[in-house]
Amino acid sequence: MQTSNDIVLSVENLQVHFHGEGPVAKAVDGIDYQIRGQQTVCIVGESGCGKTVTALAVMGLLPQPPAQIAAGAIYFRGQSLLEMSPAELRAVRGRGIAMVFQEPMTSLNPVFTIGDQISEMIRTHEPVSASDAARRVLQLLDDVGIPDPARRIKDYPHQLSGGQRQRVMIAMALACEPDLIIADEPTTALDVTVQAQILKLLRDLQARKKMAIQYITHDLGVVAAIADQVYVMYAGVIAEQGTTDHIFKNAAHPYTRALLAALPTRNKRGLRLYSIPGSVPHPAYKPKGCPFHPRCELRQPSCMEDFPQLCDFGKGHLVRCPITFADRGAGKQRLT
């Protein structure tokens, strides 16, 4: 049984609004999640559902304005990140929580060598000499599988491939042995074969370095490969949460089930893949009631009126859909 001390990150009722022209965009509209030590938590959802905004809010990297954290709290190891001074927050960034971004091609500074950029991370947070830092950089580059680190350490980002750059980003994130790494679609911009390598690398490193990972993705295939706990996000709220097992075997929310139906698998070979009609509503123009109702095949009149609450399916499996909750056990509705 996990104790509360073991919780690395706790996000409570987080609401992030963007103020611009037109109505306020509620990009994140009240989400709760916890990450325990050494756990891998996946946040899944389509583009625009608020998953990256959530991560940036945790890192304190949202540009404010236009963004505004309207409500909620974020605790890292029990300390409220939103109440920290800038200096305290800087000490957490990189050392406590490190982030790997989606775009390896543009996330490294083009005018500094990769060795510089990694050792800068170490020397910002720890009082080590330049030569000690350089030794650790070599070790890190070796850890993330960069061949011939002694030569590569002097390379500039443009001399590396996309996959190698993402390995460098991971090495940088690992440099101060953080408790939590937030990986925001780290493999989306990479080739499929490289994707698999990076995923394996993250899993291996997590086991060795004993850290927690918050992995943001839109790819359920990736989720199956690495996640312990899954949060499915839709239009700024959590639609369904549970262990990976629950989500893949007993998915209850029509959105999750539609996502699973859209996943290519071996037994669907030759068949046309399912696709969810419509697209994620713009955060400033969400429909009344359940935000998913315009695209939902199980839609009832009540869905268009009332915002659904999370229903407890037991064992930590929560689903924001009273329709499926009422029908549970009574034979599952099938989606195409």
Binding site: M59, L61, A87, R90, A91, V92, R93, G94, R95, A98, M99, F101, E103, T106, S107, L108, N109, P110, V111, F112, T113, E120, M121, T124, H125, Y156, H158, M169, M172
Partner: protein, 320 residues
């Protein structure tokens, strides 16, 4: 690297040749002739005009004139048609007069533009940004000659700073220190005026460049590393934001020979700008052509310097 230099030099020599031809032709095409600068003057009898044409080879075909001029230029024998003095000596003298103005003006422009622009970008839409934007647009839009006269009135009546010419008449008989200070005071107003427009434009440029870089992913990465703001902005962002200005740095080289006609005229400053202006009015072809040629050389040298500097500061660029 060496092959780049070699190729670049050859290219630039070819360019220079075409520049020399075109500028020669443009001046020949311009209305008016040196021999007819003052047709109403009774002293300009047809015989004298004929003699002038002969002495200055104006009766020869164009290509011969061209060759004769450039032969004179490269042997250093080219002389002004106005006073028969060697052109290079004349230019050198005026160049030395313009140099302090150029150096002080450029230093002021570059030292003020960067801090102002960077600060505006970091505190975007804050009071500092808004007020510098307002002042910049004011300085950009106000005509230079008008602004100059306002400043002259203010400075002369309130501060008693001398403004006309390079030094006060008769000051050469005073002690060297007084003389030096006098020259320094004369330098203040024209160089400040020359710099204000430059600061207004360049600081806007720096601001927009810096803003673009601040929005880049790698600046976000730097913040995510837990670096403090100074390091994020002045190391990670600024290094990248400076890259385009390296090109501009090479481009200030031609300013050495250009001078400023307006400022030099207002302040009676005997500099390069006025020399060129007077040479054009007087159809003094050798002076015009020589200034043109030196400008072209400096422009081409400036681009070469820019290329080389770019290679030094941007690791992505390798010249081969």
């Amino acid at each position: 690297m060496l092959s780049f230099l070699g190729r670049s030099l050859i290219q630039k020599l070819v360019t220079l040749f075409f520049v020399s031809v075109v500028s020669f032709l443009v001046i020949k095409l311009a209305p008016g002739q040196p021999s007819q600068i003052d047709p109403l003057n009774p002293k300009f009898t047809p015989e004298i005009v004929e003699r002038i044409r002969k002495v200055y080879h104006l009766d020869q075909p164009l290509h011969v004139q061209y060759l004769l001029y450039y032969k004179d230029l490269f042997t250093g024998k080219v002389v002004s048609w106005r006073d028969e003095r060697p052109v290079l000596g004349k230019i050198w003298e005026r160049f030395l007069n313009s140099l302090p103005l150029f150096i002080v003006g450029t230093l002021l422009t570059w030292t003020f533009s960067f801090p102002v622009g960077i600060r505006s970008a970091i505190h975007r839409d804050g009071w500092y940004d808004k007020s510098t934007t307002l002042i910049s647009y004011f300085l950009i839009s106000i005509p230079g000659f008008f602004f100059a006269y306002i400043l002259i009135i203010l400075v002369v009546t309130k501060l008693n700073v001398p403004v006309i010419d390079m030094q006060t008449f008769g000051v050469t008989s005073a002690s060297p220190l007084v003389h030096f200070m006098d020259r320094l005071w004369h330098l203040v107003l024209p160089s400040v005026l020359g710099a204000t427009g430059g600061i207004a434009v360049l600081s806007r440029y720096v601001r927009s460049q810096m803003l673009e870089i601040i929005g880049q992913d790698y600046v976000r990465t730097a913040k995510a590393k837990g670096l403090d703001e100074d390091r994020v902005y002045y190391r990670h962002a600024l290094r990248n934001a400076l890259l385009p200005f390296v090109t501009m740095f090479g481009m200030i080289l031609p300013g050495l020979i250009g001078g400023s006609v307006i400022i030099e005229s207002i302040f009676s400053w005997p500099g390069m700008g006025r020399l060129a202006y007077e040479a054009i009015l007087g159809r003094d072809y050798p002076v015009i052509l020589t200034i043109n040629f030196i400008s072209a050389v400096l422009v081409l040298a400036g681009t070469l310097v820019s290329d080389l500097l770019y290679m030094v500061v941007d690791p992505r660029i390798r010249l081969e």
